[in-house]
């Protein structure tokens, strides 16, 4: 069994990652999970949160929105609506986005379609902040 597998992180607007990795952890809908090479086939929904790539104390961190992941023994494909590397997170922009989403949500009824759209933005902004604040 090989010591690494191919990781693809794709958003509708671009391909964020396409590289060989040995370990990732991702925020699954039923809790965080890690993937080593040779993982059993799995399809799971993802919650907004942190995607960590690599072993050890200093993985590469990414913030992702909700989406889903397809795990195969030799490759993992993560399809999310938005994703950003930790280094590229802009604190001011993200905070503004979070505030805007909260204000807009307050005007609407929960589970209204428009509310759901803002909820997506809010949770993504939240995930970005969470990742941004993490120490290395």
């Amino acid at each position: 069994m090989s010591a690494s597998y191919r990781l693809n992180v794709i958003t509708p607007e671009r391909q964020l990652l396409d590289q060989e990795v040995d370990f990732i952890t991702a925020p699954g809908a039923d809790g965080c999970f890690g993937v080593l090479p040779g993982h059993a086939p799995l399809v799971t929904l993802l919650n907004p949160g942190e995607l960590a790539v690599g072993w050890g104390e200093k993985p590469n961190r990414y913030a992702i929105s909700g989406g889903y992941a397809e795990v195969q023994p030799e490759r993992v494909t993560i399809l999310v609506e938005r994703a950003v590397a930790k280094a590229d997170i802009d604190l001011k922009v993200t905070q503004a986005e979070l505030e805007e989403a909260e204000i807009e949500q307050a005007k609407l009824v929960p589970n209204d379609p428009a509310w759901n759209l803002w909820e997506k933005r809010r949770s993504y902004a939240n995930a970005c902040l969470e990742v941004y604040r993490k120490k290395e």
Binding site: I10, P12, E13, V43, Q72, L79, E81, R82, A114, L117
Partner: protein, 295 residues
């Protein structure tokens, strides 16, 4: 023989036209490059989505399939038409519109009820004359700072709500798929309900290392995936359509520049001939005048 002054005017105006078309061609070329990159960037996502849906869909049994996947039971069709907001791009808009027109007639002959959602003002301008009361909504200016989120907010969320409320049973999109700057392929796609390709799903099962595990469950995954897929398909159509528009405009303007050049050359020849003729006539008059004085 045309007089010199009117010829000069025509030469000037054709020259101006050539400059304008040349500028438009350059602008279109620059925009095309960006739009083309974009089509390439969006394809992996929609392809990945397609593969995933097909493989799950083949496992869900037909009776319990969600509405976005099940066989349609009704005769109301909603067509989303993608045209440009601006003209001067060859047969880009007219090709789409011609196809939509014949499709609507064919569907109505089959007893279907057709409604339209138009993206781009050119489609509205022409289709409103014939099908004015069937137009549900028009989206204009959406191609400007296009993003996935904007697509979802402006188009898909409304579309899905209407589908849930049972305003239509089938949704199709029609757009120009980008192939190269010279050619676009007119594409019809059914997006609601999502059609399932039988053969593909069988192949997947054969080659896969056992059936994958679904978390939280197949149906839950599908419930999230299907609405997202509608957005992805529409976003993809927007991106492709935009790239096609710039490609078509570039080609059209290129032709226009060349035609203007040809015309300019012909006009210049006529102008020079005329000028020469005038000079010759004047000379003749002077010579014959002086000859008659001598005598």
């Amino acid at each position: 023989m045309p007089n010199l002054k009117s010829l000069r005017n025509r030469i000037r105006s054709v020259g101006n036209t050539r400059q304008i078309t040349k500028a438009m061609k350059m602008v279109a070329a620059a925009k095309l490059r960006r739009a083309q990159e974009r089509t390439q960037e969006t394809r992996p996502y929609s392809d990945g989505m397609g593969v995933m849906i097909q493989s799950i869909a083949s496992m869900v049994n037909a009776d319990s399939a969600p509405a976005l996947l099940a066989e349609p039971n009704g005769n109301r069709v909603c067509i989303v038409v993608f045209t440009a907001d601006r003209g001067l791009c060859g047969s880009f808009n007219s090709g789409v519109i011609r196809s939509v027109r014949s499709k609507i007639v064919a569907l109505q002959n089959d007893g279907m009820e057709v409604s339209l959602i138009l993206v781009g003002s050119k489609g509205r301008d022409i289709l409103k004359r014939q099908f004015g009361n069937q137009i549900k909504r028009v989206h204009i200016g959406i191609a400007k700072d296009l993003s996935y989120e904007k697509t979802e907010r402006e188009i898909t969320s409304k579309l899905l709500v209407e589908f849930e409320k049972g305003k239509f049973d089938v949704c199709m999109i029609v757009y120009n798929k980008f192939q190269s700057a010279m050619t676009q392929e007119l594409t019809w796609k059914q997006i609601i309900p999502m059609p399932i390709a039988e053969e593909d799903s069988k192949k997947e099962e054969g080659s896969g290392a056992g059936a994958p595990l679904y978390e939280p469950g197949e149906e839950e995954v599908l419930d999230v995936l299907l609405p997202q897929n509608v957005t992805v398909q529409i976003f993809q159509a927007l991106v492709e359509s935009e790239a096609s528009e710039h490609g078509a405009r570039m080609t059209a303007m290129d032709n226009a520049v060349r035609n203007a050049g040809d015309m300019l050359r012909k006009l210049n020849i006529t102008y020079n001939r005329t000028r020469q003729a005038v000079i010759t006539t004047e000379l003749m008059e002077i010579i014959s005048g002086s000859e008659s004085l001598k005598g």
